[in-house]
């Protein structure tokens, strides 16, 4: 399917916070109460529309165990957006955000849009991290913030789409150099160079090569 832009996303955060469930809810619109453990990285893709343009999201869903960080670090490269997820019912997953953020900032390009997500908002009775705390953390570190529930699908669409909107705005402002695939953005095969702000986009084809070679 043709698209105007392709954005690479990466989902990060502690193990068991619901990263794979968020992805499954976003791509397949379903929830699996007992999800397989992610080892290494898994992938998802979905087309969305922003400002009347087709945008393909290519999502890398990473393993959350701390020991694997040395492996997952290489996956940051070339990501345009990151969803940093914690579990609102487990404070330790919130406490680890700083190290995740350091990792992300260190191994990705500086323009990467980061969305902070407090997942499992359906489990209000077991809440361990206040909404305000999430908001404060996001404000302090310049992130977008949302509380989601992969189970009820609350805010899941919005989390993925708002991140894309932010990336799109940055492209419009000229912050992202869309010719540099290391930014995690690719122009679609039919996208004319004129529409891309006068920058050449030849020879990119429909395939994705960014971020991992």
């Amino acid at each position: 399917m043709s698209y105007a832009y392709l954005f690479k996303y990466i989902i990060i955060g502690d193990t068991g916070v619901g990263k794979s469930c968020l992805l499954l809810q976003f791509t397949d619109k379903r929830f699996q109460p007992v999800h397989d453990l992610t080892i290494g990285v898994e992938f998802g893709a979905r087309m969305i529309t922003i400002d009347g343009k087709q945008v393909k999201l290519q999502i890398w869903d990473t393993a959350g165990q701390e020991a694997f960080r040395s492996i997952t670090r290489s996956y940051y490269r070339g990501a345009a957006g990151a969803l940093l997820v914690y579990d609102i019912t487990r404070r330790d997953t919130f406490n680890h955000l700083t190290t995740w953020l350091e990792d992300a900032r260190q191994h990705s390009n500086s323009n990467m849009v980061i969305m902070l997500i407090g997942n499992k908002s359906d489990l209000e009775s077991r809440r361990d991290v206040k909404r305000e705390e999430g908001e404060a953390f996001a404000r302090e570190h310049g992130l977008i913030f949302m509380e989601t529930s992969a189970k009820t699908a609350a805010n899941v669409e919005e989390a993925f789409i708002n991140t894309a909107k932010e990336i799109y705005e940055k492209i419009q402002e000229g912050v992202f150099d869309i010719n540099n695939e290391a930014n995690g953005i690719k122009l679609g095969p039919q996208h004319s160079p004129a529409a891309a702000g006068g920058m050449a986009a030849g020879g990119l084809g429909g395939s994705q090569g960014g971020g991992c070679c």
């Binding site: 193990t15 290494g40 898994e42 165990q65 020991a67 492996i71 994705q208 090569g209 991992c212 070679c213």
Partner: protein, 556 residues
């Protein structure tokens, strides 16, 4: 099919006996002006006894009786049927026929009278459910895991084979003739009153249609039973060879293990897959116990793990300043999360499942035994496969020794330089074996680590159907770690053409979520077509060379 359908209902609705003795002329027929139909004149007045209470919502039946139509003529026609039926069930049957697409087939299969449509449908539904369950089990590759279950299945299938084939010729003939004769009689039955009378031509046409339907059903039935028989025979053959090889392993190989383990014959048998009943023992022997994990040692660490687990379950996990202790308890938290996420589709390791505690304890015991390694994701799958094939203590011995193998050890230590050396060797071998695919994957940016992490950290048990994964383990324990690379290349070889037409995201998704129906034989055929040496350099030479890059660069 205005006229066709009701007549079919009539055919099916009555299980009357042979109509050969009946003649239309001899029947006491009268013309009913109200229904404009010929109907049988009552020979005796309607029975005075109260009829069975009508089913709710079927007032039409009462009306019929009131209109003066007696039951006896139809009862006469039903003579010879198992039992004279009241009107009600007969009314119900046509609906059943309409619901079920092939009731005749179902009835013939189960050997029940045609009128017993409801229960035979239940039976066939059960069969379908069993088949679906069987298919699902096969899909996940667990059908061949438990040898005892397999032999039970074989007994059942053997029994069904004899029952379905042993008496089939005469029985089927009887059933079919019974059906045809019964329906001949049905055509002579009065039609439901609200339907217009049939013309002679229509009647004969319907009779022909009915015969054709019966014929079709019989053919379908024959075809079904043939394919069923074939499948059962194939299964029996597999089980026979499994029984044979089990015998060889038990009687000839295992008692003389050290003497024969490297012989050609044993090697070949091994390649074909270990019988599930000896698999655990052969794995143990092949792995050995270089670490000298004794039962006493196991008990010590097991006890320690149990106390930590218990404390954690009560919510007062000891948080001592000791780093080792800390590592153990944090491992325990992680293990708790992951045990439930291990083979969730099997439902064996989840809370309340038979293997939940065992897996939890095994991983906990290992974290106590090797706090420097602790628990790393992927381990739960390896431990689970071992638990499914050996008892808990042996599983621990196997687990500890398996993780001590140089390749797995460096992976679970997350030794980046070793891992890079393996990836580089694997890439060189991919280029050597499947140059076109290598080129395509390079162009798409699919590096081996994207899918090999998932494959190797679980020794393929998460990515392949479980029975296929066990076969890979069999040969891995025979040939060593080079076989893991060979198996990975074999998977790529199996899907080579498909993969070469995919772009990045499809490739990545395909390789991290391999098809559930991956066939073991096809994969092993592909594996025979790839090799893990380049020129005179073996896999280990290549890894060593990758670890110490010479001025000439990495192996090609």
């Amino acid at each position: 099919m205005g006229g066709g359908r009701p007549s079919c209902c009539c055919h099916k609705s009555r299980s009357a006996p042979s109509a050969s003795g009946l003649c239309v002329d001899s029947l006491p027929l009268v013309y009913d002006r109200r229904t404009r139909q010929l109907r049988l004149q009552p020979a005796v007045p309607p029975p005075p006894a109260a009829p069975p209470p009508p089913a709710p919502g079927k007032p039409g039946l009462e009306e019929e009786r009131d209109s003066g139509v007696g039951e006896s003529p139809s009862s006469t026609l039903q003579q010879g049927a198992a039992a004279p039926r009241p009107l009600r069930p007969r009314r119900r049957l046509p609906e059943q026929h309409l619901e079920s697409s092939a009731p005749t087939t179902a009835c013939t299969r189960s050997g029940r009278p045609a009128s017993d449509g409801g229960s035979s449908r239940d039976l066939s539904a059960q069969g379908a459910a069993a088949a679906a369950a069987d298919k699902a089990a096969k899909k996940r590759g667990i059908s061949g895991l438990f040898s005892r279950c397999t032999s039970l299945t074989s007994l059942t299938s053997l029994a069904s084979l004899t029952s379905s084939t042993g008496d089939s010729p005469c029985r089927a003939a009887r059933r079919n003739s019974g059906l045809q004769a019964g329906s001949m009689g049905l055509i002579l039955e009065p039609r439901p009153h609200h339907l217009p009378a049939k013309s002679r031509a229509e009647e004969s046409r319907h009779r022909l249609e009915h015969q054709r339907m019966l014929e079709e059903a019989r053919r379908r039935d024959q075809k079904d039973s043939k394919s069923r028989k074939k499948a059962i025979q194939a299964q029996l053959k597999t089980e026979h060879s499994l029984a044979q090889s089990t015998k060889i392993w038990n009687q000839d190989i295992l008692p003389n293990w050290e003497k024969v383990r490297h012989t050609r014959k044993v090697s070949d048998l091994w390649w074909n897959g270990l019988p599930p009943s000896v698999r655990g023992r052969v794995w143990m022997l092949a792995l050995g116990n270089d670490l000298h994990v004794t039962p006493q040692l196991y008990k010590v660490y097991h006890q320690e793990a149990l106390s930590i687990l218990r404390a954690a379950a009560q919510g007062n996990a000891p948080r001592s300043p000791c780093e080792v202790r800390e590592a153990k308890t944090s491992s325990v938290d992680l293990i708790r999360l992951d045990v439930a996420r291990t083979f969730p589709q099997l439902g064996l390791f989840q809370k309340g499942g038979p293997y939940h505690d065992l897996l939890h304890e095994l991983l906990g015991t290992y974290a106590c035994y090797r706090p420097d390694v602790g628990y790393i994701q992927g381990m739960s799958f390896i431990a689970a496969v071992l638990l499914l094939n050996t008892d808990p203590e042996d599983a621990f011995v196997c687990f500890a020794n398996l993780l001590n193998r140089p390749f797995l050890f460096s992976f679970f230590q997350l030794d980046q330089s070793m891992m890079s050396a393996y990836y580089a060797t694997y890439t060189a071998l991919l280029r050597e074996n499947l140059p076109a695919l290598w080129q395509h994957m390079e162009a798409e940016g699919v590096t081996p680590d994207l899918y090999l992490v998932d494959w190797l950290y679980t020794l393929f048990s998460k990515s392949l159907p479980l029975d296929v994964a066990c076969r890979i383990w069999d040969v891995f324990l025979r040939d060593g770690e080079a076989f893991l690379a060979r198996a990975a290349l074999g998977i790529l070889h199996l899907y080579d053409e498909q993969l070469r037409s995919m772009e990045f995201i499809n490739l990545a998704q395909f390789l991290t979520g391999l098809p559930d129906d991956l066939d073991s034989e096809a994969l092993f055929k592909s594996i025979t077509k790839v090799h893990t040496s380049i020129g005179r350099q073996t896999f280990h030479d290549l890894v060593e060379r990758s670890r110490r890059p010479s001025p000439l660069g990495s192996p090609r």
